[in-house]
Symmetry: C4
Subunit: 206 residues, 4 copies
């Protein structure tokens, strides 16, 4: 079935399996979600290998309360998903991955953003039209206090709007799209750009 016609959960399960194949969520790390409505999203339950996850390992989360209906509490990082859904009513899917490239680049870059420039593949990000423009991916210092981290992300967005995603230092990438298909393209494009950027820095001893 073409991805556009898949039910959202099926599309998200397929995205998890693809992410597993890519090695971007080793050792049960990461979490993925899809919006069901203005009030709810589905999100991966903690502790499952993304490459072999199935439909019963997703929880329905209330976007206002951040809780699973019925009172079960999802993983702490759910708070970053619900933040992004509340900031962007048009976002339909969020992918949070732990790749080597995202982990290392977010540590090597000591400032608060990775700036991507001069790459044709910037155009894989919705709305980008030229390699001459600059794509800014913010980096936030990691924290185990997710509400505090979410608050820093929200504050930063109020000044410089987020676009496609952000990095958490030494941790990984959050990225999103209108639907699972666009979120996958953004993830694949950003991972490509991160790998290029690391290679370029190595070769140019920057």
């Amino acid at each position: 079935m073409p991805i556009e016609q898949q039910p959202p959960l099926d599309a998200l399960v397929a995205a998890c399996h693809w992410i597993g194949t890519k090695g971007w969520c080793p050792a049960t790390g990461g979490n993925m979600s899809v919006r069901l409505s203005g009030q709810h999203c589905l999100i991966t339950e903690s502790g499952h290998d993304k490459g072999s996850i199935s439909a019963e390992h997703f929880l329905t989360v209330n976007l206002q309360s951040g809780e699973v209906d019925g009172g079960r509490i999802p993983s702490a990082e759910t708070g970053l998903h619900t933040l992004v859904y509340s900031l962007f009513p048009t976002v339909g899917a969020i992918l949070h991955t732990h790749s080597v490239n995202a982990t290392v680049l977010s540590r090597v870059e000591k400032s608060n953003a990775v700036i991507l420039e001069g790459y044709e593949m910037q155009k894989s990000l919705g709305g980008q039209r030229s390699h001459l423009d600059r794509v800014i991916i913010p980096i936030f210092d990691n924290s185990q206090d997710i509400p505090a981290l979410a608050s820093r992300v929200a504050d930063s967005h109020a000044t410089v709007p987020l676009q496609y995603g952000f990095l958490v230092r030494g941790h990984g990438l959050y990225c999103w799209g209108r639907d699972v298909k666009e979120a996958r393209r953004h993830l694949e494009g950003l991972e490509f750009l991160f790998q290029c950027e690391l290679q370029l820095r190595l070769l140019e001893a920057k």
Copy 2:
């Protein structure tokens, strides 16, 4: 079926799937074509993942007008495909890919060409007989103005003839062959040589 006996579109679809497996066209990037006659080629429609593309996602383009018969307009980069077909009547297939190695090498090398020398695998390119010869792969600065880029490629070719392909800086590789089979061999050989060249530069801190 042996690749030599495949209908051209079948061979091109198989090449796209293989390129998808290699990771040389992430996030729906790249485009691939095969010549049908002196007047027409088939080319990938924009926006499809190459690893899972199927026969209905190809457009028939008029090599003179650069348009799809009936008036649909294919992706802008079609102009580089039609240029190559017009420069080389014997070219039967063109592969345009976006690999990390092609992207990075074309930025690290600041001159207008990558020169490959001393590699046995240069002989994977049609007509090359010795590692002692030099293979010159031109690099053109990227542009979103494809007619202007095509014009620079044509001008360069008038002075120093193109042979197997060229790089667009920070963008990717265009390469070709008599048929899909030879274009695949050239792509695989060039990608191998680009990876060797990057590794060698890293190790020799060139």
Copy 3:
């Protein structure tokens, strides 16, 4: 069948196949074991490719004598497995792999430990709660005299307790868990962290 419900040998065979796919045990290297009881474990017989190993290629070893019941003698490195089972009554599975990253990192790091700090993925290791903590993975110089190496490991453990695993310099990683599932997660997490650490050292020219 969910991995938690697999018989231990089935889970271990599946782990070997997965390790083969990852390329962490090339050329028949490495050995893997699972505890059967307080007295016995099953361990891979030497000389088999881990990626295609099957259930008949495992030996039942007596944890006290280190011998196969009936007198057959398993590979020399069995002594490190039996040591770990005797040090940790709760350990249920041990994976010993030979990856490029573990081999190289254990040589590049000249001290007696790799210290991992600042990585979210440290939390893939049982009991770790924050990227701000330090995970210490000891490195022991390699030896062909396994009883002597086991004695050095035991002495070190008496001073600084082992937690998840240790490296043998220029050789590979030993890691473990309560069961095969946790040992796999520890292996995948440590391999990820080793790859990040190598990349980071390259980029920071440490």
Copy 4:
């Protein structure tokens, strides 16, 4: 069927497919052979992709004349295979591959040998018992004149006997074993060691 019981050609075809999966023979490069008797070997015909080669793409070569019975002439590099079979009556299979690591390491190392030392995986090579020993893999400058190259290899062997294989600079690896199974293990072990050695040189800026 266990590899030990496979007919030699079946084992060699399986080895070619495995090498294709590893990416060690891109763009139809490389050639592989197996001894049939004191007088003949089977060798891959030039120009086929090793990952999808089948039994009809092998030629029977006379080890004395270097010719195919009936007068067909196999690829020029057959002369290096027949040399190795004549130098070592116990060699049953030869694998000649073109990997990035073998190509780059043989260029980065300017002397006439790669010396491997301190790696447990040296024991993947028949007869090696300790990481403290040194494994010497000679490097010969590449040449398109195969009889001349074969003569240099034979002269070198007369002084310092070859053991497992040799590198041709900027070209690739020749390695061998008693049978296809041992040749595969030697190839996998040497490729692992070459990758470690390149990583180590990068990290130690040697």
